[in-house]
Amino acid sequence: MNAANYLYLSALLFTIGAVGVVVRRNAIVVFMCIELMLNAANLSFVTFSRINGDLNGQVIAFFTMVVAACEVVVGLAIIVTIYRSRRSASIDDASLLKR
């Protein structure tokens, strides 16, 4: 067992998150998938922090959580607004603007 496995795990989770953004239609689920990507990145930070033997990675991960929290607030506010206007949380419905 070595630390690199965490990196693989992180990469996989990131991939799953990224694909989730592409395949899911519910705005909230999409947003959760983005959160998953951020979490995956955090796992990499923590793992690299361990490999590098300093705490900078952990600090970044901490910042990421804070920033992500802010993002969630803003993002969910936007999603709710859209939902209230359209009565739908499907991001496919929001395609007025195109071409």
């Binding site: 705005a27 983005i34 300093d54 900078n56 859209i82 209230r84 206007s85 929001a94 603007l97």
Partner: protein, 505 residues
């Protein structure tokens, strides 16, 4: 373990601090000042803050420092130039915000509801945009001067979040506006996840999160480059997303179209400065020694971006979308400046950013003026005969378009010339050639708009040009004056840029 008390150089940070202070006051104004007064108070507060900040930038324009904020930011010539550019562009775009007709009165009200109608009848609009803008501007100011990844990331989010929000605040066509906000937000968050992931690999590669530390590893790293390259790639995705480079551009036409026009102008101009500022610093200092790895990729992206933007713009029928695609093409041109990786490239990029930014704000300012009874008219077919109805507005718009097209005696030409020559100097001949080619393609649609405005007879459909308010007029006058002045006699600005533009590292 000992704790070293942090030392912050408040003088050097003051431009940002002033902005943040102004934003906070703005938030308080929201809470305590009566609705009737809020608009004017916020506007004066914001303009005052920006001017003060600009003055502060001017005061420190000869300073350089790497330790202004414990190594988190670098103050040097380019930083000053970029910050000043952002502030100037912000000031002229803030004037546009002030017209009452752009922002919804009540963002929470459902589109089409009774509540919305009532709120609109009051003639108010959301004044929170002012503090939000100030927050965004402080993020933009921080973005190009950040010198560690944390600050970079925080600044990225700081400039993005308010923009996500403001994109959704349009007074008219609110569904589209909210859609723009959603798209911008989701894709922005998506790309910042990549950005963050890239940061992780850079940290893993170099065991450092400061620019200096990463640069050191790039110069003399011990492992292989895989982690570095992945890091560069993902970090670039985040940055390229912000500047709207193909294939990370998709948000920009939709968002430009949906967002309230003043926001679009501000976003298109100022965000580009900030994002390219950061990009220039990162590529010129941190990744400079890994040039072999990223220049080819960036060149390909630049070429695709230029051509794509120009080609698709031809087929557009909506002026805001057309300007969006044009801005994509310009992102491609600016990437040429990044690829150049020489002093000339840096100077050219800064000049271009400023010139382009000012012209962009001006162009969107004109868009705000063309209206019918239900708000702005962005359908190009209804711009027919504009030159007849209001020659000055049309002529001004034509001026901006000519600047975008890079016609001599406008700032766009000097910018294009300098950026292409810098790229050529560095050997990126393919990029220059693609740039020239796409300029030719681009000329086509700029001219088409001029033809529509001047040479096509108007249709009687109620489209008219609103008499610009004093503030909008100020925006227009300042931006066209700068656009032409920089085309006719750019020497002073070029000298300033030349003297200042050296990255310290």
């Amino acid at each position: 373990m000992t704790f070293t008390a942090p030392v912050l150089n408040y003088t050097l940070l003051s431009p940002i601090l002033i902005l943040l202070g102004g934003a906070l006051i703005g938030v308080l104004v929201e809470a305590f000042v009566s609705k009737a007064l809020r608009s004017i108070v916020q506007l004066s507060l914001t303009v005052g803050t920006l001017v003060l900040s600009l003055a502060q930038v001017w005061r420190i324009h000869n300073e350089t420092s790497m330790s202004a904020a414990m190594g988190s930011v670098i103050i040097d010539g380019p930083a000053i130039l970029l910050q000043a550019s952002i502030l100037i562009i912000s000031i002229i775009s803030i004037f546009l915000f002030a017209d009452t007709d752009h922002f919804t009165a009540l963002a929470a009200a459902l589109p089409g509801s009774e509540e919305e109608r009532h709120s609109l009848e009051t003639g108010n609009q959301v004044t929170e945009v002012y503090p939000l803008t100030l927050f965004a501007i402080s993020g933009m100011m921080l973005f190009p001067i950040a010198s560690d990844l944390i600050t970079l990331f925080v600044a990225l989010e700081m400039l993005s979040l308010p923009l996500y929000l403001m994109a959704g605040l349009s007074r008219r066509r609110r569904l589209a506006s909210q859609e723009a906000a959603l798209k911008y937000f989701l894709l922005g968050a998506f790309s910042s996840a990549f950005f963050l992931f890239g940061m992780a690999y850079l940290y893993g590669y170099s065991a450092s999160i400061t620019y200096a530390g990463i640069r050191e590893s790039v110069v003399g790293g011990s492992g292989n480059d895989v982690l570095l390259l992945i890091g560069i790639a993902f970090l670039s995705i985040g940055l390229l997303f912000k500047v709207g480079a193909v294939p990370f551009h998709a948000w920009s036409p939709d968002v430009y179209q949906g967002a309230p026009t003043p926001i679009t102008g501000f976003m298109a101009a100022a965000t580009k400065v900030a994002a390219f500022g950061a990009m220039l610093r990162i590529y010129y200092t941190v990744f400079a020694n890994a040039q072999w790895s990223w220049t080819p990729l960036l060149s390909v992206i630049a070429i695709i971006t230029m051509l794509f933007g120009s080609l698709v713009a031809i087929a557009q029928r909506d002026v805001k979308r057309m300007l969006a695609y044009s801005s994509i093409a310009h992102a491609g041109f600016l990437l040429a400046g990044v690829i150049a990786l020489n002093k000339a490239g840096l100077e050219a990029s800064i000049f271009y950013l400023f010139a382009y930014g000012v012209a962009t704000v001006g162009a969107f300012a004109v868009v705000t003026l063309v209206r019918d009874s239900s708000g702005e008219v962005t359908d190009l077919n209804r711009w027919k005969g504009l030159g007849k109805r209001s020659p000055w507005v049309a002529a001004t718009f034509a001026g901006f378009l000519l600047a975008f097209a890079g016609i001599p005696l406008t700032s766009g030409f000097i910018g294009k010339f300098s950026i292409f020559s810098a790229a050529y100097e560095s050997g990126a001949k393919g990029v220059v050639f693609a740039g020239v080619l796409s300029s030719a393609i681009a000329a086509f649609f700029y001219i088409r708009v001029i033809v529509l405005m001047f040479f096509t007879d108007a249709t009687q459909d109620g489209t008219s040009v609103q008499l610009p308010s004093a503030l909008t007029r100020a925006t227009l006058v300042i931006s066209i004056a700068i656009t032409i002045a920089l085309g006719v006699y750019p020497a002073p600005l070029l000298n300033v840029i030349s003297n200042l533009s050296t990255f310290i590292r």
